[in-house]
């Protein structure tokens, strides 16, 4: 028999995980949509956000500062990566872009491993959000509930940037046709840099927000990257709403399956992806012709 309180709590877990995946995936998908580069180091960005936040936390003891430090550091890292390396790959084949970001991801993970060792580090949630909250029919960790709220706010901010600002309009136009944007007299390369920074920041922010939920290890981004891919395939490449929808679907599939048998979580996730590929090859909210 299904244990209902357990089931509902797994639904909440799924929501928290899904929200995080949505945030990370939207970072990945706007970078890909605008620049045409699939960043295989995106999982490493997520991990570095956690570690940067951890460092800030161990010096200041403030979770807020940790979040700010984690996000900003990863944003700067993203900008630097775009300026120094990615920029030279815009006109090279997709495979080379995949290879170089894959290599960079490995370098990032190994650098972190060198500095912090493979041992897991812990960032506790802020005092205000510790403990558990009663939802009437079940008790649920307060911080995880807060994660849903925090990420929702972050996604909202990303939405406002993308859909309500001049920059966002340029980015969305760039996703449709970056050559055209360039020829309209907008310096598309500067926009690329900013987009890469924002996309990386989304991953870094998610990384530090997620740090109190799981313990922090150098490999924490690897699984996330795979889940992010599934999210993007389900939602549709380059689609911000698709990333959110895909993230929530993937989060719930993982959580609900884990309740029965964690070993099948990925199998179910993969089955869902296959189903989408068969029925809607361009993703649930993707546009045909965008590859």
């Amino acid at each position: 028999m299904i244990n209902w309180p357990n089931f509902v709590s797994q639904l909440f877990n799924g929501l928290a995980l899904g929200a995080l995946l949505a945030l990370i995936s939207s970072g990945l998908t706007i970078i890909y949509g605008t620049l045409g580069v699939l960043n295989l180091a995106h999982g490493a960005m997520f991990m570095i956000g956690g570690y940067a936040g951890y460092v800030a936390y161990s010096y200041t003891g403030s979770f807020i500062l940790a979040v700010i430090a984690g996000s900003l550091f990863v944003m700067l890292l993203g900008v630097a990566m775009e300026r120094i390396i990615i920029r030279h790959f815009y006109h090279r084949p997709h495979e080379d872009q995949l290879l170089v970001t894959f290599g960079l991801g490995i370098c990032f993970v190994e650098i972190v491993r060198l500095i912090f060792t493979s041992q897991s580090q812990v960032v506790p949630p802020p005092a205000l959000l510790q403990g558990i909250t009663s939802l009437g029919f079940l008790f649920y960790p307060t911080y995880r509930l807060a994660v849903v709220g925090i990420v929702a706010v972050a996604l909202g901010a990303l939405f406002l940037i993308l859909y309500r600002t001049r920059l966002g309009m340029i980015v969305r136009a760039g996703i449709e046709d970056s050559v055209m944007v360039d020829s309209l007299g907008i310096n598309v390369y500067r926009v690329f840099m900013i987009v890469f920074g924002i996309g990386a920041m989304a991953a870094g922010f998610a990384g530090i927000i997620n740090a109190p939920v799981v313990s922090l290890t150098p490999g924490v981004g690897d699984d996330i990257l795979v889940e992010t891919f599934v999210v993007v395939v389900i939602g549709g490449v380059g689609s911000f709403p698709g990333a959110i929808l895909g993230g929530l679907i993937a989060g719930e599939i993982i959580s609900v399956t884990s309740m029965f048998n964690p070993g099948y979580a990925y199998v179910m996730l993969f089955a869902a992806m296959t189903l989408v590929l068969v029925l809607r090859p361009h993703g649930l909210l993707g546009t045909q012709g965008r590859e």
């Binding site: 890909y32 699939l38 390396i85 030279h88 006109h91 090279r92 997709h94 495979e95 080379d96 995949l98 290879l99 170089v100 894959f102 290599g103 960079l104 490995i106 370098c107 190994e110 650098i111 491993r113 060198l114 493979s118 690897d222 699984d223 990257l225 795979v226 891919f229 599934v230 993007v232 395939v233 490449v237 048998n261 964690p262 070993g263 099948y264 979580a265 990925y266 199998v267 996730l269 993969f270 992806m273 296959t274 590929l277 068969v278 090859p281 590859e291």
Partner: protein, 618 residues
């Protein structure tokens, strides 16, 4: 580069494998390291066919490596199956079958989608191995006790155990792997693989079923991976669960890129570099865990600066030293140099190729009939209710102002896009809704307005790919057949070279051709499929006046005994060439008639000149 002297590479490989045990110990290679390099090298042979030759970058090869490895290891340990080699083959078949099923899903998309899906697949296999199937796979303990092979020859028993003894067995496996891979690469299928890598769109348009070929490459890679996975268990006397990890896939990709993609031996070289650097950094320099960082940096630098890896770099260096043109990287930017002046003014003398035999009894009458063709893009009506008939042997011209819907019309005729309504009948068969590959196979193809060539290949290789589709059909698995043994192929290629006046440069890479030559090759690609109806979309576009004269001559000679439809803006040329001309305007047929009628038609003059003539006449 892989086909100079017959069996040279096979011979050198065999020699290298025989010499290796005598030389490598001097270089500080332990036998176990060499054996591991061989397993990676074999794993990489298949992967290079997939990635280096077909251009499909998969990050999921660990799935097949693990599948083959665990099936073989399970048979040999848990099931008590006594035959090692047979178990390895069964593992390989299991991996290939898995590859087929996975390929059906992963190959639904291309490019980065494909890469992402393969990553996800690999991860699923890893989890399945650890959890649902852990009773069979030993979960995180793996399967210990995998035996080594022995062969009872009657009078004696050959037993390969460890070190250099096992090396002999692995070297034999690698050698067989190389021989098979070379045959595949040199087969017609191999030619189509490189066509898919260079320009999948054109590979489809010249009549190859590229989905089938991609799936073939995927299955081949899975089979190699499965066999190599089995060997890993034999080598270590233990099947480790980390064969299934994403790191395995990643390491394979990195080794291949380090060694050089598209070379078959790149993965072996990459594995040698990887494993010896790993040993060196860990043991000699005492770097401990930092070895992976160093290798990661080496890899990133190689991808940035030496895109064809170590073997590619050496080949370029050799070319530089001997003063030859090495196989350069394909030039992305087309040098729009009209080099007509430098070309020999050979008259176009070649006789036309006999077009594909027509069904008896219909030498005249319509070859193509379009009725009511309409194409709507959202609110935009590109073509509206076009009726169009071309007879056998006719040379038809189509003119019309920009935006008249000419290219859309051609795309519908070749079934690149499907009409919103209307029907197309070609040689008495309704082809509406068919795909471009099948239509090409029926004998209808076109040359593109913007060159669609296989940019990384030579002129001859380009034409071979196009000619193959006519001679072999859209899909055929002649994996082990030499491309030279296909009857009629070299004649057809030679003939096409003569027709498009490129006989002097058959072995020039496309990237080094002048614009006019590329344009002629573009027509040659369409011709080599020996179409019975050939569509030419602005064959004269972008040409210098001199090249135009040459090309018009060329088109005339091609048109002997062939049905052609030509779109162009050069009306003088078109009026000279065509027997009848159709004028399109705003997606409709404005008028149709002989060049003379069209020239004197007042509505045409109005369409082009805005009624100036009419005003003058009045």
């Amino acid at each position: 580069m892989l086909k100079q002297r017959p069996y040279l590479i096979e011979f050198l490989t065999a020699a290298g494998l025989i010499v290796a045990p005598f030389v490598l110990p001097w270089l500080g290679f332990a036998p176990n390291t060499v054996n591991r390099i061989l397993v990676w090298g074999l794993f990489g042979l298949g992967f290079d066919i997939l990635f280096g030759f077909t251009g499909l970058l998969s990050f999921g090869q660990s799935a097949f490596y693990g599948t083959g490895g665990f099936v073989a290891a399970w048979l040999l340990t848990r099931a008590g199956f006594p035959y090692v080699v047979l178990a390895l083959v069964i593992g390989m078949i299991a991996a290939a079958a898995t590859g087929y099923l996975i390929g059906l899903i992963a190959l639904r998309r291309t490019g980065i989608y494909f890469a992402m899906i393969t990553v996800a697949i690999a991860e699923v296999f890893f989890f399945v191995e650890f959890n649902p199937l852990s009773d069979f796979t030993g979960g995180e303990n793996g399967l210990p006790g995998v035996p080594t092979p022995s062969f009872n020859l009657g009078f004696t028993t050959l037993h390969f155990t460890t070190g250099w003894s096992l090396y002999q067995f692995l070297a034999l496996c690698y050698f067989i792997g190389v021989v098979i891979a070379l045959r595949i690469v040199r087969s017609p299928v191999g030619a189509v693989f490189s066509a898919i890598r260079d320009n999948p769109l054109r590979a489809t348009a010249v009549g190859h079923n590229i989905h089938g070929y991609k799936l073939t490459a995927f299955v081949i890679a899975a089979a190699y991976a499965g066999f190599a996975g089995g060997l890993l268990g034999v080598l270590q006397a233990f099947m480790p669960p980390d064969a299934f990890t994403f790191d395995t896939s990643g390491q394979l990709v990195m080794q291949t890129a380090i060694g050089g993609r598209g070379t078959l031996f790149g993965p072996l070289v990459g594995a040698a570099v990887w494993l010896s650097l790993q040993d060196f950094l860990q043991a000699a320099l005492g770097l401990g865990a930092a070895w992976k960082l160093v290798l990661g940096l080496v890899f990133v630098l190689l991808v940035c600066f030496l895109r064809r890896g170590i073997i590619g770099g050496l080949a370029d260096l050799y070319g530089l030293l001997t003063g030859q043109h090495g196989a350069r990287e394909p030039d992305e930017s087309e040098p729009e140099v009209a080099a007509a002046a430098s070309e020999p003014h050979a008259a176009v003398a070649a006789a036309p190729t006999p077009p594909r035999p027509r069904p008896a009894g219909s030498p005249t009458g319509p070859i193509l009939q379009a009725k009511g063709l309409t194409k709507r893009y959202g609110g935009l009506l590109a073509n509206s209710d076009i009726d169009f008939t071309v007879n056998h042997g006719e040379l038809r011209g189509i003119i019309g102002p920009n935006g008249a819907g000419k290219s859309t019309f051609f795309k519908m005729l070749t079934c690149e896009v499907h009409p919103t309504s209307g029907t197309i009948v070609f040689e008495g068969r309704d082809i509406t809704g068919m795909n471009v590959t099948d239509v090409c196979q029926l004998g209808l193809t076109k040359s593109y307005q913007v060159n669609q060539l296989f940019a990384g290949l030579t002129v001859r290789e380009n034409l071979v790919i196009a000619a193959l589709s006519g001679l072999r059909g859209k899909f055929k698995l002649d994996l082990f057949r030499s491309i030279d043994s296909i009857p009629g192929l070299s004649e057809r290629v030679q003939h096409t070279l003569e027709l498009v006046n490129l006989t002097s440069r058959p072995d020039t890479p496309v990237s080094e051709l002048a614009y006019g030559e590329k344009r002629r090759l573009e027509i040659g690609l369409a011709l080599a499929t020996s179409p019975s109806l050939l569509l030419l979309d602005e064959p004269l576009a972008g040409m210098s006046p001199r090249e135009r004269v040459e090309t018009v001559k060329l088109l005339k000679s091609i048109s002997q005994g062939r049905t052609m439809i030509i779109i162009d803006h050069d009306m003088d040329a078109l009026f000279e060439l065509a027997e009848r001309v159709t004028v399109l305007q705003e997606g409709r047929v404005l008028v149709e008639g002989t060049p003379e009628e069209i020239k004197n038609n007042s509505t045409v003059q109005e369409a082009y000149l805005g009624g100036v003539h009419g005003v003058l006449a009045a």
